[in-house]
Symmetry: C2
Subunit: 209 residues, 2 copies
Amino acid sequence: MKLSELSTETGVSTASLKYYLRESLLAPGEPVTRTQSEYGPAHVERVRLIRALVESGGLSLAQVRRVIDALDSPTVPRHELLGVAQEALMDSERFEADADWTAVATEFVERRGWRIEDGEVLLPQLGAQLKALADTCDVGGRDTVERWADAAEIVAASDLDTLTEDDAQALRTAIVGTVLSDKVLQTLRRLAQQNRTAQLYEAAKRSDQ
Amino acid sequence: MKLSELSTETGVSTASLKYYLRESLLAPGEPVTRTQSEYGPAHVERVRLIRALVESGGLSLAQVRRVIDALDSPTVPRHELLGVAQEALMDSERFEADADWTAVATEFVERRGWRIEDGEVLLPQLGAQLKALADTCDVGGRDTVERWADAAEIVAASDLDTLTEDDAQALRTAIVGTVLSDKVLQTLRRLAQQNRTAQLYEAAKRSDQ
């Protein structure tokens, strides 16, 4: 198909497609004439992936590039899949490590009994995030973080179950699934907050009667 | 304090502070001379808030503006706090509603027995996110979403508990807490994935012996 048809098929403007081509996020098509190339199903799939990562996942183009580089790299052993996914998604520029809070995060994880392979980035990141919460709104005491960790365990068990089936697309599933389902979890949290608010409101009304 | 001292106190460059002032994210200081103003503790607090939302929360400046407008608005009744927070954080431009997937999301929430006050935005958003997952990596079947919803209920119950105490800063806590703790939850998920991977690996080794 022509570039204009790839645009129709994917719902992405030709201007954006040309940008993806220029930035090598999308492989060039097969040249047909001096000014025209032919694009195939692999291009459609790649464009849909970029679009999902940007629009639904909220990734920057720099993050999309890291994800795509990881996907284009040679096969990764199953037990390293989530590690590669995590690395591709890391915002290491986004936080400033704080030694005291890294220690808080490390101690939390140890008390929880979690075995962490590679905490050099994630533990300082968790510490910086807990510091930001404590500094700005006094949220994130030990009890709260314990409850969040309970929730995280449920999600992680589900994540690993998704990956145990034999799947040629496993890395793609690990990366894309993680990015997009982070967003689904945020939306479910908002919905569950509304439900919980309604429940508490009903309970308060009953106890007033 | 002078602008340069505000910069030292908060760790935000004077260029960024001038930008916040120009964009009215930060109130002007008290004029002292024709070229100098005096800034106080309220400025320090506001700059720390903006910084946390941008750096730790990953919000765009447009989102920061919505959050700040909500915070600067008159007192909001307790039961509307999370609604105002949700509205301030909404990325309505980020997704395209799909009627079939909105129906899937609505049916899911109903089956779950969740009472949703105001699903006009959140249900199409959930639908679009589930569609993106299904389209790109075949993740997000009913069982998986049920497990995510279990996790979301734990987090939402914790969120509401945080807000029940009497607190003049409740809206701030609702908004900032939600933004920053979304990030904490993402990090805890990554850590829990590592722990779960280690557990499964151990179990596989034992069953090989």
